[in-house]
Symmetry: C2
Subunit: 124 residues, 2 copies
Amino acid sequence: MPKQSPADPDLPGIFQALADPTRLAVVERLSVAPASASELAKPFAMALPSFMQHMGVLERAGIVRSHKSGRTRTYQLAPGALQLASAWLAEFRNHWERSLDQLDQLLIATNPIERHPTPHKEPT
Amino acid sequence: MPKQSPADPDLPGIFQALADPTRLAVVERLSVAPASASELAKPFAMALPSFMQHMGVLERAGIVRSHKSGRTRTYQLAPGALQLASAWLAEFRNHWERSLDQLDQLLIATNPIERHPTPHKEPT
C-alpha cells in the first residue's frame, strides 16, 4: 500500500512548484503514466542534474513521489498536493460569480456612463 | 462593462503569484468582496509599499484588477486567471484516479510483499 508522507504539503509551496513550465510539463506527462527520470528528462534541452532539481522541487512539494528499483528512479503523481490546490481554487467558484455581480454593481455605482460606452449602431 | 485584458495570463505566472501566503490570503479576502488597498493591507504586519508589491504581482498575473476612484484604489478578483489554473488542475482528476490504479499495479509488480506489510491482528 502506498505510504504517503510528503513533508506537510502547504499551498504556497505547491503553487511555487507549479510556477515553472518544465515542471508543469512533467506533471502533465506523469498524469498519463508513471515514468523514469530519464524518460521524463528526454523532451527537455537541459542537463540531467538541472532537470533533477526540478524533480526535487516537485517531490518536496508532495506533487510527485518516486521509488528506486536498481539504477532506475520511477516517478508518479502523488495526487494529494494537486487535489489540495484544486480544492482551494474550487472554493472560489461560487465567489467568482458573486464577485462578478458585485463588480457590475460597483461599476454602476461609480461610473454609470461606462455601462453604455458606445452606441449600438454607428451612424452611416 | 469590465474590460478584461490581463497581459496574456500564463499558468506558471499565475502559480507564481499564488506561491505566497500573503497573496493567498488577499485572494481569499477578495473572494468575499472587493476592497481598497488599505483595507486589504490592514491584517498584515508589513509596510504599505511592500504590500503593494504583492498586489502588483497579483495584478500582473491577471488574478486581481483594480480601479482608482479619487485617492482610493479598489481591488477585485479577475476570475479568468484563477479559472485557468482551476481548469488545468481539474484536467487531472480522471488521471489521478487512473494514476492511483497504475501505482497499485506498479507496487504489486515490483514489491508484492509491500501489499501485506503487517498482519491484521497482533497476537495478544
